[in-house]
Symmetry: C2
Subunit: 137 residues, 2 copies
């Protein structure tokens, strides 16, 4: 009965071309959507996290049988990061090359972690980071 948050559950991206972004993240995450439609594509992103892709302009309030889901909206070339294993950097570099994705930048962090940065089809800054970035990671 503690009022404590467990973790971030849902992270949302607002897409000009939902099908294109959905295909990209489906491949990146090697997953099939839990839900797919003109409004929303929901992807399991590992360890109880969920990536929600909304069609921009179609994320208003929604009446459901169980209650009202409030509206929301956003945009821009935002940033998001995914956790990868410490020994997976080379495998990811090879996989991104296969996917035709150019690496924009690499960062070595003081705590020993490494990050690879690239852009998704709508210019968002996607990061893959190994442990050793934050005090908590």
């Amino acid at each position: 009965m503690r009022a404590r948050v467990r973790r971030i559950l849902e992270t949302v991206l607002y897409c000009d071309d939902l099908a294109r972004s959905a295909a990209f993240y489906q491949t990146l995450l090697t997953t099939t959507p839990m839900l797919t439609g003109d409004r929303l594509v929901a992807l399991e992103a590992g360890e109880g996290t969920v990536l929600l892709l909304f069609q921009r302009g179609n994320s208003g309030a929604l009446e459901t049988a169980g209650g009202l889901v409030p509206g929301h909206d956003g945009g821009g070339p935002v940033h998001l990061a995914f956790a990868i294993d410490a020994d997976a950097v080379a495998a990811w570099e090879a996989r991104l090359a296969e996917m035709g994705i150019a690496i924009e930048s690499r960062v070595c962090w003081d705590r020993g972690g490494q990050s690879i940065y690239f852009r998704d089809p709508e210019g968002r800054s996607v990061e893959l980071a190994t442990p050793g970035l934050w005090p908590s990671y």
Copy 2:
């Protein structure tokens, strides 16, 4: 050496008033920042997830000793959700009332989960959700 994502690591909000949003999420998450400054406040959000709050207009590319962190940007009254325990809804309702936060909506999901929705100081749609929402949660 598998090129698999573990989970979403970092979720970003772009804030018109960084100090105000930082205070709000610091209280909500009952945490102290891992990093705080004019550009960025980083909050541990549980189970290896991190909430990054950026000052809107101050999230451009950054040269660090370890490499270039690419620029990014965003805005709008976006949505994010946090996982809470199944038996924590009443405790959260009491805590939100203490914090002076009005609940905008409640949803009961087909899989048995419950969600509470409210707005953060910049109008974002924040959700607290119990298990039983997604096939993976």
